[in-house]
């Protein structure tokens, strides 16, 4: 797959925000510095991926998984990332679980709704007929007034 050069870069706005939040208030970042950090981040992804892939291959797997990434961090001497990453992983798993349960609940609700919708529909039709009758009556009244 041919990648265009910009595809291998990360969005400037997000990178800038992350840098600003990390540094003390009022510190400026030169454009060059920001661009350099962005490039460094892309290189980091490549390095981490390659490293994680080694662990996957060692485990005779073709798919990179979470533990491969964690092992890669240790290998690259970024042990300080391991704890926050584990926390993020747990939060992500909880979120996924929540989403799954929510969509299952939604499905149940939808099934229930379809049943009650059919009941509502017949009720609505009755209401419409009533409204039409009311309009006719009003119309008649007007005519009388005119006469």
């Amino acid at each position: 797959m041919a990648e265009r050069p910009e595809d291998l870069n990360l969005p400037n706005a997000v990178i800038t925000r992350i840098i600003k939040e990390a540094l003390p208030d009022g510190v400026n970042i030169s454009k060059e510095a920001r661009s350099a950090i962005s490039r460094a981040a892309s290189v980091f992804v490549l390095y981490a991926t390659s490293c994680a892939n080694n662990f996957a291959m060692k485990g005779k797997r073709k798919t990179l998984n979470a533990s491969d990434v964690l092992s890669a961090m240790e290998e690259m001497e970024f042990q300080r990332f391991v704890t926050p990453l584990k926390e993020a992983l747990e939060a992500y798993r909880r979120e996924q679980k929540g989403k799954k349960e929510a969509s299952e609940q939604k499905k149940k609700d939808k099934d229930k709704k379809t049943d009650s919708e059919e009941q509502d529909k017949s009720r609505d039709e009755d209401n419409d007929e009533d409204e039409e009758r009311l309009e006719e009556e009003e119309h008649n009244e007007e005519e009388e007034v005119d006469n």
Partner: protein, 130 residues
């Protein structure tokens, strides 16, 4: 692709990941020999990259030049790449910058050194022959 593109917003609510997962995936896939990436690995790599950006920025700032440090500059970053073992893998992409005149001087000196060596070799050969 549905991305979880959120960060820490103004009210301080912690979201999972700010960097776009689709872009991270593109970079990861450009690595040779990588077949497939599970979603958790993708999320963790994105998160790790954010931590990396924070770490590189703060480290370079703290170890950077002087008291007037109200700015983070390119040279702070290239110094980090050169001096810190952890960040050494960045040395090639964050080269130190030197003035062109200095570089030309270096080239000249190098050439002179090489010439000298060649001259010495030749004279050695003469000695051996005799």
């Amino acid at each position: 692709m549905a991305d979880v593109v959120m960060g820490k917003d103004k009210c301080g609510e912690q979201r999972l990941v700010s960097l776009p997962l689709s872009r991270i995936r593109v970079i990861m896939k450009s690595s040779p020999e990588v077949s497939s990436i599970n979603q958790e690995a993708l999320v963790l790599t994105a998160k790790a990259t954010e931590l990396f950006v924070q770490y590189l920025a703060t480290y370079s700032y703290r170890h950077g030049s002087g008291k007037e440090k109200k700015a983070l500059t390119y040279s702070d970053l290239s110094n980090t790449a050169e001096e810190s073992e952890t960040f050494q893998f960045l040395a090639d992409i964050l080269p130190k910058k030197i003035l062109a005149s200095k570089y030309l001087k270096m080239l000249k000196e190098k050439r002179e050194e090489e010439e000298e060596e060649n001259n010495n070799d030749e004279s050695e050969d003469d000695e051996v022959e005799s």
